[in-house]
Subunit: 330 residues, 2 copies
C-alpha cells in the first residue's frame, strides 16, 4: 500500500492553494459580513471583514481540514474509513465529511461530552466509542478502534493536511473582500486554523495575528518563552480553544504570526454578544475570540491602518442553556 | 411643489424591477442559505433556499421599502425629513435609511415599546416622540409631528413604494438561486413583504404562498371571507405580524397569492429553534413563520415538486431575555 500523497505536500502557501482547489466543491463558500456599527466601535475605525465559518458545513471551519484530509486518502484507505478523538467540532466535521464521501467514520469521545455534540456526531452517521475523559484513555481507545477497523486517523489540528485545509478560509476571504486586507486575525487552540491562515498569508502583504483566551494562553506564553508549552490548564468558556498548540503548528505560528493577543472571559462574552446583536449570526464563544482581540487595547496599539479580516471559527453552542450574558451562575 | 414621482409607479413586476435597480447600491445583497438537514426533514425533501433578510441592514427586509421610499422623494421633501409611527422594525429601517441619505427622521413610538427597539431607533439618529399605545394616539401624534416639521410620512406597509421596495428581496433571490424556484413563501403581517413578493413573481413560474400565525390570522380569514378584516386581535410571539393586512396589500394578495398558511405558536418556536441550530443565524419569531408553514401538513399537501424559496423576514430579538424554547413563563 502506498503512503497517502498528502504526506508529501510541503507546508507552504502553494499547498494551501492546492487544498483550496480541492475543497472548493466540497465546502460552503461562507459569506463575509461587514458592520458599520461594529467597525465604528473601534478607535481606529478599521473596516472589519468577518469570515463566517460558523456558517460552514458542520458549523465550523473544521470541515475544511477534514474534507481536505479525506480527499488525500487512497481508495483503500477510504474503504476502511477514518477515525479521530474529539469532544468538539472536529468530530462533527469529520463525520460529515466522511458521510459526504460515503466513508465510515469512528469517533472516540470522552464520556462527559455534551449531548448536542454527541447527537450531532450520531446524526452524521459516525460510530462513537466512549472513553474516560483523559488524554491517555483517548489515545488507547483510539488505538484499539484503529486496530479493529484499520481506519486512518485524521488528527484535529496537528497534521499537514488539516493545517492546509484550514488555511483555505483565508484564501477564500482574500477572494471575497473588495480591497486588500492590512491584517487578519484568527483564534488559536490547537493551532490548525492559525497556522493554516499564516501559511495562506505567506508572501502577501497581510499581517497575521492570533487571538487566545487568557484562560488557555499556552500559545502566547510559549511564544514569549520561545518554546511550545505541551500542556495547558484551560479555564475558559471558549471550549474550542482549550487544547495546547500542536507540534507542527507552533513553529509555523512562531515564524509567521506577528503576535498572539490574549483576551479575558468578559471580553469574549462581550464580543460574542455584540456579534449576535449586530451580525445576527450565532457565534460560539471560541468564534468570538478574534473579534474580542480586535477590540482590545493590545490590538489597537498596533496602529493598523486598513481593513482587518476577522475569522469567526464556529457557531456550535448548546441553545438549550442560558446565553452567557444572561447566565448568572457563570 | 410637485408630487413625488413615486405615486405614479404602477403596482407591477416592472416597477419592482425598477425599485431593484434603485435599491441595489443601498441595501445588503443578503446571502441565501441551504441546509441539507432542514430540507431532508420535509416529507417532500424540497430543496429550501432561505433568503436571509435578517442579515439586511437594520436586521429586517424593512430597509428595502424604506430605502426605495426615500429614493422617490424630491430634494425639498428630503430636506424636511421623513416620519412614521412604528414600534418595530420599520422604525429602525427608516431611521437608518434616512441617516444614510443625510435626512432627518421622526418616529412616533408607543410608550410601551421595548427598550432595544427604542435604543436602535435612537442609535440611528432619529428623533422619537412617545405616545399612548393606541391607534388614535399614534395617528394624532404623527399628525402633530408632521404639522411641526413638514416631514413626509413613510408608511410601514400600506404604500406603493413600500410594497415595491419589499418585493426586491424576491428579485434578488431569483438571481441568486442556481435553479428555478417552484414556489416562494413569505410571512404576512401588514402585507408589504407578501404583496411585494407576489408582484415580483408575477408572470414567472414561481407560485407564491403566505404564512401567518394563527394568533393573528386576519389575512387568511379575510381571504376565506373574500373581504379584508380591518382589525386583528393579535396574540402571537411573532411581534412583527400583529398588524392587520393593509388596504393596498390585501387585493394584491387576494389576486396573486395562492394560499396563506396558518401556523401555531409551537410550530413557530420549533421552526425558529431549528433555524438557530442549523442555519446558525438569529431569526426573530416572525422570521421563522414562513419556514414553520413550509413544515406544516397544509404546505406538504400542496405536493410542490421543486425548490422552495423561504423568506426570513428579520432577526431583531431582545437577547437579554430567555430564548422562547427555554422560557417556561411563556
Amino acid at each position: 500500500m502506498s503512503a497517502p500523497p498528502s504526506t508529501s505536500l510541503p507546508l507552504s502557501r502553494a499547498s494551501v492553494l492546492t487544498a483550496q482547489k480541492v475543497v472548493t466543491p466540497l465546502v460552503h463558500r461562507t459569506p463575509v459580513f461587514t458592520s458599520q456599527t461594529l467597525s465604528e466601535l473601534l478607535p481606529g475605525k478599521n473596516t472589519l471583514y468577518f469570515k463566517a465559518e460558523n456558517l460552514q458545513k458542520g458549523g465550523a471551519f473544521k470541515f475544511r481540514g477534514a474534507s481536505f484530509s479525506l480527499s488525500q486518502l487512497t481508495q483503500d484507505e477510504l474503504a476502511r474509513g477514518v477515525c479521530t478523538h474529539s469532544s468538539g467540532n472536529h468530530a462533527g466535521a469529520l463525520a460529515l465529511a466522511a458521510r459526504d464521501r460515503g466513508a465510515k467514520c469512528y469517533v472516540v469521545m470522552p464520556n462527559n461530552s455534551s449531548r448536542p455534540k454527541i447527537e450531532a456526531v450520531q446524526a452524521y452517521g459516525a460510530e462513537i466509542t466512549f472513553c474516560e475523559p483523559t488524554a491517555s484513555a483517548r489515545a488507547s481507545t483510539l488505538a484499539s478502534v484503529q486496530a479493529r477497523t484499520g481506519a486512518t486517523f485524521v488528527p484535529p489540528y496537528d497534521a499537514v493536511n488539516t493545517i492546509l485545509g484550514q488555511g483555505t478560509a483565508l484564501i477564500e476571504l482574500l477572494e471575497q473582500v473588495p480591497e486588500p486586507l492590512a491584517a487578519v486575525i484568527a483564534p488559536v487552540g490547537g493551532g490548525g486554523l492559525l497556522a493554516g491562515t499564516a501559511l495562506a498569508a505567506d508572501g502577501t502583504q497581510v499581517r497575521v495575528f492570533g487571538a487566545e483566551p487568557a484562560g488557555a494562553d499556552d500559545c502566547a506564553q510559549g511564544l514569549r518563552e520561545g518554546k511550545r508549552r505541551v500542556e495547558v490548564r484551560a479555564n475558559t468558556i471558549a471550549d474550542g480553544l482549550r487544547t495546547p498548540v500542536g507540534l507542527l503548528n507552533f513553529p509555523i505560528i512562531q515564524q509567521k504570526v506577528e503576535k498572539v493577543i490574549v483576551v479575558s472571559e468578559n471580553e469574549i462574552i462581550e464580543a460574542m454578544r455584540l456579534m449576535w446583536e449586530r451580525l445576527k449570526i450565532i457565534v460560539e464563544p471560541s468564534g468570538a475570540v478574534a473579534f474580542a482581540a480586535v477590540r482590545s487595547k493590545d490590538f489597537q496599539a498596533l496602529g493598523i491602518n486598513g481593513p482587518v479580516g476577522v475569522v469567526i471559527s464556529g457557531g456550535n453552542i448548546d441553545l438549550s442553556k442560558p446565553l452567557p450574558w444572561t447566565d448568572t451562575t457563570q
